[in-house]
């Protein structure tokens, strides 16, 4: 939780030299997306398929030498929130009743769904954390641009990313000011003050947007450049992609055969 914000230093493992880091950002995104889709779209109850994917993801984690401690901390926090949701999947009808207490009953179907969904969610979180731990945000954005995400969307995301820290600072300054003036007393007051803070933050934001625009114009901004730099991918990236695709298909064929 806390490690996410502040300096926004998410990519603590981006300076390693490993086979994973040799991949271009767009290749990394594609590999992660492929495995993610394969994991998520596998129907419930295909344990063997997920074990194959899980082993592959574990291998990728070891190869990319992400700091496992940080990875575990992040997964723990993120999974705690997923876990709350998972409870809802358990109590349902269908299959054999395993355990019953009043109207609450746990059935085999419920257990299968619970197990499948938690497995899928865990694998997805591992994949995404590996991507964000090893790839800085500017590189991610560049990769997305090469993958033909609309340049306007990318430019807006880049601009947002650049200003999040500024706005959070401004907001904490306002909050400090309100607290130091004893304005955060009752809940009613607190809501009023926070509403006003958000309002005045919007006014400042809008004006900041205009100032940024002026500054960009004065530096010769003429709209977003449409041409993206040519991707420097080679055989290595193609091999990695093929391997991932093969893995995804292998996992799917296991689930089809059974």
């Amino acid at each position: 939780m806390l490690l996410h914000i502040g300096a926004f230093h998410l990519d603590i493992d981006s300076h390693q030299q490993t086979p994973w880091h040799r991949l271009a950002p767009q290749t990394r995104i594609l590999c992660v997306l492929l495995l993610l889709l394969a994991t998520v779209l596998t129907p419930n109850g295909q344990w063997l398929t997920w074990c194959v994917y899980g082993a592959a993801i574990l291998g990728m984690l070891l190869v990319s030498r992400v700091t496992l401690w940080v990875l575990c901390k992040r997964i723990a926090v993120e999974y705690a929130f997923v876990g709350v949701v998972l409870m809802g999947t358990l109590f349902r009808e269908g299959g054999d009743v395993v355990w019953q207490w009043g109207w609450l009953q746990i059935t085999t179907t419920g257990l299968t769904v619970l197990g499948s969904v938690s497995f899928k969610a865990l694998l997805s979180l591992l994949l995404l954390n590996m991507l964000t731990l090893t790839t800085p945000v500017p590189m991610l954005l560049k990769g997305l641009a090469i993958l033909r995400v609309p340049p306007l969307l990318i430019a807006i995301m880049a601009s947002m990313y650049r200003h999040i820290g500024v706005l959070i600072d401004e907001f904490s300054a306002m909050r400090r000011a309100a607290v130091s003036r004893n304005l955060m007393g009752g809940s009613h007051w607190q809501r009023m003050v926070i509403g006003n803070m958000i309002g005045s933050l919007f006014i400042r934001t809008y004006e900041r947007g205009d100032r940024i625009h002026q500054a960009m114009l004065s530096r010769g901004y003429q709209g977003i450049p449409t041409a993206v730099e040519t991707p420097n991918t080679g055989r290595y990236d193609i091999a990695a992609l093929t391997l991932t695709l093969g893995l995804a298909l292998a996992g799917q064929s296991i689930s089809l055969i059974r």
Partner: protein, 250 residues
Amino acid sequence: MNFLLFSTGLLTQSVSHTFAPRIALHVPDGFLNAPVLTITWLISIGLIALALNRVQAEYQDRAVPLMGVCAAFIFAAQMINFPIPGGTSGHLLGGTLAGALLGPWAGSLVMTVVFIVQGVVFQDGGITAMGANIFNMGLIGTFGGYYLLRTIRYAIGRDKLSGMIVGTSIAAWLSVVVAAVFCALELAISGTVPFNVAMSAMVGWHIFIGIGEALITVATVTFIWRTRPDLLYRSPRRAIATSPRSLSTR
């Protein structure tokens, strides 16, 4: 019965330092099945494409800096915890607020950008489920919220603060509740959570969350109406005549 609630977690924790229920409607990866994912993604991509075109046409080269900071603004505003009547605390989703301030197209674009950054960078809501999240909160919450707000506001009177307040409160509350209904429906259709459990837990809880959303949205919009009405989307007519005064020093 709040075991079914999705959390935004992560970011918001750092501000509050509490483990109060962090509730929003961000569906993680692995909860929805292929048909639901496909349909919500298709609708969301259509929405994004339309919104990009409209925003580009309306703001031209101001689009990038303005939408960028506004997305950062929504992101920052979502991190603030405030007490909800009834004892818990919640935080803003901001859909209706974005709609009221920036209009339907720019508002939903800004919300979409926020969801993408939250999903990709902070794992707050899944990647494959992002289509569903954009559909629930961007399309229903922002787009739907704006048009509901606009209908009510114009019915009472465009230049009346009361119209704005009534419209904002109803639209903000309803947008959260309807987004929760859609979220529950998607989970039930995917076979992840039984329909009655999903409905009662998600919707029952978000009826309260919506109250908090409505209160904060109304407070924010009222503040802007009183200080810089010209910044509202479809601002009251008197505001257009008076020249705006800057409040910002930085």
